[in-house]
Amino acid sequence: MKNKIVTIALSAAMGLMATTAMAGTLEDVVAKGYVQCGVTTGVAGFALPDADNNWAGLDVDYCKALASAIFNDPDAVRYTPLNSSERFAAMSSGEVDLLSRVTTWTMSRDTQLGMNFTGTMFYDGQGFMVRKDSGITSPSELSGAAVCIQTGTTTELNAADYFAANNLEYNPVVFVDRDEVVKAYQDGRCDVYTTDASGLAANRSGFADPSAHVILDEIISKEPLAPVVRQGDDTWFNIARWTYFALVNAEELGITSANVDEMLGSDNPSVKRLLGVEGDFGASLGLSKDWAYQIVKNVGNYGEIFERNVGVNTPLALERGVNALWTNGGLQYAPPIR
């Protein structure tokens, strides 16, 4: 009897002792055969299931690029839609392998949450959307306004900073769910909806009458949106970071999903190194030699991803702006592969 109890207690204790493996994400991913990617619950242009229930968007394409680099299969991804208030817990619990989820890179998140940001996929800034008939043209006219915000975001803090700095009164109405925020704004609960400017454009594109709403020109914050991995797993961090760099480098070198096969015969050493024709840079990531070739072949380069999901020909109609390559006066810049 006594032995039985001790055995049960010990096995229970052993079960609890088994800590979630924090290192070796790549091994785990290869073993299960897919990347578990944390995305938004639905922001057009970034991550939203389409009519066939396939996820699409800029964030989603990044996950596909990562899956291509590892498996040569852009569909070896499973998506976990997460609220802004759930996302970091989902990361630290190991529920997802990475977060590609319009998440702003801030110092406190980088240093206190046990997270690492891999690289800015999208340079954004916080803006305001108001109804056109309100006649508002600048955020400085918003004194006394009711403002709809999603909880647990940098948006919430930026709004508090902005209104305090400008001595304006405001009335924050915060919701956990982004859909609830947008619905409350549409129902007239708020005069203003504030989030990242790209998010405003995304939400407006889904309104019944988008032209009845204006996004104010003024941007009140820096919102570098970056994919996130867990701290303490450098191999996985490197893969995630260089997936992004490969996308940017490919655009800079003029390699697209259409011409990538031709480019294999290019004489440009930079192109040769990126596509794995010369040297083996994949090995140091724990990947195959042609990891970047697979990314571009399956998903395209950064510019293609941008134009496909949020560019001027999409409902979001965003200009490249600061997200242009550094060679075109933008901020997108990747270290060389050599």
Binding site: A13, T20, S92, G144, A146, T151, A160, N171, P172, G188
Partner: protein, 396 residues
């Protein structure tokens, strides 16, 4: 020799290992050890995992500035306030909606429960339909429903309903004049307090008189009169001034006065309507549980209908009603945590959503939040148990 003889009367002493007393102590110790080991393992494992995840831990965040705003607070709060103040704001908001909810749900629940037993067919059936619909639809859906109703059915700010030049209702909430008493007005509050004591004294005196002379005294109406008349007389004599700050439309919104935001109204409404249905059933069951003979006995004593309910039926029904009623009070308080879904800044919304996200201290904050609900529930239970003991039947 004497010892030996005494031993004959005792049961044969079992061996040490078969002694039931020893065994029971042994197993209790084993269970205790397992529980302690379990708690220890969970605690150390959590701490080790958090450290392995490179996360900041601890409760020091309470003294850091919160740097966010909250739109409905009972104490002053802005972005320079600390996280512990945000915690207090959330807790007070939870308490506010719970206390008001409990009061109204109890009143309405009693009315509805009695209505279900009404001899009037329509009233009884209407009450039944209400109870069956409301208690069989999930509360979260009802909250979304009421919130949508509040937002969609109410006019925008520019077309607000206005009554008596100060009561304003629109989709932002309900605004009303804010009383601004001057200092001498304190006398009126003191007068009211004295009147309350007077009302109790009056009740005591009337009871004595009833026992001695058999004459009744209209205590209820006299007390109401006392509670109103005395403060008003003091107000007029002292010359205290009570000004009102009325809400006025300025720019986007009404400014001044006091405002209950639509989220608060929707949550309160939803909680009251939902809990009322359950309380009505409890009240009905309590009354039905009182034997019909009690009614007949009261009637044969010649008690009037009101007295029969008040003196015979209700006191006996209360013994059945109070324990499940306590559960409903606890449910209402805990259900108020659904507030986050519709944007009311309660404890869960302010502390477990916003604060948790901005600080990342998930384990600490979830633990504190659970402790708060546990404490609120235990306090409610202690109070209700005390009340239950008071109304319990005294067995003779």
């Amino acid at each position: 020799m004497a010892d030996l003889r005494n031993n004959h009367n005792l049961a044969p002493k079992p061996s040490f290992f078969n002694d039931p007393k020893v065994r029971s102590i042994f197993y209790q110790l084993v269970v205790m050890a397992i529980i302690i080991a379990f708690v220890y393992v969970v605690a150390t494992n959590t701490a080790a995992n958090l450290a392995a995840q490179n996360k900041s831990t601890g409760f020091d965040f309470f003294l850091q500035p919160a740097s966010f705003d909250i739109n409905f607070t009972l104490i002053p709060f802005d972005r320079t306030s600390y996280y512990w103040e945000a915690f207090v704001v959330g807790m007070l908001n939870t308490l506010l909606v719970s206390v008001i909810g409990v009061i109204f749900a109890t009143l309405l629940g009693f009315m509805l429960g009695i209505a279900r037993l009404s001899n009037n067919w329509i009233i009884a059936k209407l009450a039944m339909v209400y109870v069956e619909i409301i208690r069989n639809v999930p509360l979260l859906l009802q909250l979304f429903f009421w919130y949508t109703v509040v937002l969609k059915a109410m006019p925008g700010v520019k077309n607000s309903f206005e009554w008596f030049g100060g009561f304003v209702l629109n989709n932002r909430g309900f605004s009303f004049p804010k009383p601004m008493p001057d200092e001498t007005f304190n006398l009126v509050f003191i007068a009211f307090f004295i009147a309350v004591i007077g009302a109790f004294a009056l009740k005591y005196w009337a009871r004595k008189r009833l026992e001695q002379t058999g004459n009744r005294f209209p205590v209820f109406w006299a007390s109401i009169g006392l509670l109103i008349a005395f403060p008003v007389v003091v107000w007029l004599i002292s010359g205290a001034n009570l000004a009102f700050e009325t809400p006025e439309l300025k720019g986007f919104n009404y400014k001044g006065g006091l405002t209950l935001p639509s989220e608060f109204l929707a949550l309160l409404f939803g909680l009251i309507i939902y809990t009322t249905a359950f309380i009505a059933e409890i009240v009905r069951s309590g009354i039905v549980a009182v034997d019909k003979g009690q009614t007949e006995a009261a009637q044969s004593l010649g008690l009037k209908d009101g007295d029969r309910l008040r003196l015979v039926i209700i006191p006996q029904a209360m013994r059945v009603i109070i324990p499940p009623l306590t559960s409903q009070f606890l449910n209402l308080t805990k259900n108020s945590s659904l507030a986050a879904a519709i944007g009311y800044p309660d404890l869960v919304s302010v502390f477990m959503q916003t604060t948790l996200n901005q600080t990342g201290r998930a384990v600490e904050i979830v633990f504190i939040t659970m402790m708060v609900y546990l404490t609120l529930s235990l306090i409610t239970s202690v109070f209700m148990n005390w009340y239950n003991a008071r109304v319990a039947m005294v067995e003779r």
